[in-house]
Symmetry: C2
Subunit: 236 residues, 2 copies
Amino acid sequence: MLTYTEENYLKALFKISFDNDNEEVGTNELATYLAVKPATANDMLKKLKDKGLVDYEKYGKITLTKTGKKFAIDVLRKHRLWETFLFEKLDFSWDEVHEVAEQLEHIQSQKLVDKLDKFLNYPEFDPHGDTIPNKKGEMKVQFKKTLSEVAVGSSCKMVAVKDNSSSFLQYVVKVGLGINNEIKVLSKQEYDKLTDIEVNGVKSSVSQKFAENIFVVCKNCAVGKPCSEPSVCEIK
Amino acid sequence: MLTYTEENYLKALFKISFDNDNEEVGTNELATYLAVKPATANDMLKKLKDKGLVDYEKYGKITLTKTGKKFAIDVLRKHRLWETFLFEKLDFSWDEVHEVAEQLEHIQSQKLVDKLDKFLNYPEFDPHGDTIPNKKGEMKVQFKKTLSEVAVGSSCKMVAVKDNSSSFLQYVVKVGLGINNEIKVLSKQEYDKLTDIEVNGVKSSVSQKFAENIFVVCKNCAVGKPCSEPSVCEIK
DNA sequence: TAATAAAGTTAGATTAATCTAACAAATAAA
DNA sequence: TTTATTTGTTAGATTAATCTAACTTTATTA
């Protein structure tokens, strides 16, 4: 049985490597992500190595073992199922679910997870558009890109956010955006990449940083496939 | 903010005094209840006293302060709301809810409790028949007695159980009993108080110990009032 | 009421998770 | 290729919750 903290370290390792698209993670990177000091992360890595959950050599990079990854995915699954529950059943808003799910994800009961999954009708994506691993740990991959990569003149559909922080999500709502909204990219400033978009007939401007945190699929790309037709759906 | 453990100590103190119908609790009693050593309980009591949550003098008895009681009731409220959720929404069985609720009761989010309460339609009793404190900390009191106190020949309705352990609850189910069942007390052995009862037309015998852990209200007593008519509804 | 038992306390140790401060290794830059 | 910077490690300390073992107080009872 893992402690609350051990679970958080495994989840962090999984998410960092997923975001970086690189299995290898550094100690400082991990420490920063978890808002602890490198010394703390280092101690924990030794423990996780002893338990066979990470592969790690002194001064080397960290990777999750197969078992470690299994645990990480399980925590992620619980987190996202709870977020879905809070959003769909308890009427929490989009930006409020994360914080509470951070606590709920550590509840230990296989039965609870299974029954919650069933109660929610086996959802595949959470309220932020992130994929929910199924019981076997399999995840539906969505071939998405960021709004910043969509060519001027193209239309796309928002499917997820990269940044799950409450402050970013509140900003997203303020701009009038939400999951499944259609976004048309009207123009982009060459100088600072400030992008003019149109959502539900309303025009607004978003920064490069903002656009990099919005995940979309292009309107004319087949669902579940990478955007394959640059003529129809160009990538910057 | 209280730790997980502090919450458990406060809840234990509240439940012990409630069960004993006596505000004052002893260190050893508390330690036994929580399955820790008296030394451990003693350390924690000092901390809870410093925080103003219990009144306690060296070698004296322990009572909860007003603040301490408030926290205890809040944990109890969360526990029982979660039990109700697990039972009613997730289809957990009667004897499975307690263990998971022990974990869920420590999730910190006022909003979550409020929304869960609403989702469950403001329930007043949990699946074991225990009263659920409302947001203000008020609890509906049910004037119940134990099955062992019901006179031979009387009928009563089961409203709750005293022992919430999984093993007891499974036994209750096996005997064919459940909340709201009508129980007729047919006869009782003078020697060992073995009691013959009838539930849904099925006869069975239960021990004194068993009967002391089943809460009932007498059939002919007004709801919400103590059993006041010994002629109709005698108490042993 | 003195002896015994029960209840409660203290001191010292342990484990998990964290920190600071000092140090070592690896990498990047001049 | 040496120096500087970044990255990672170690040692020693702290806090929360727990333990064992020895001790003290209070309560019971013979």
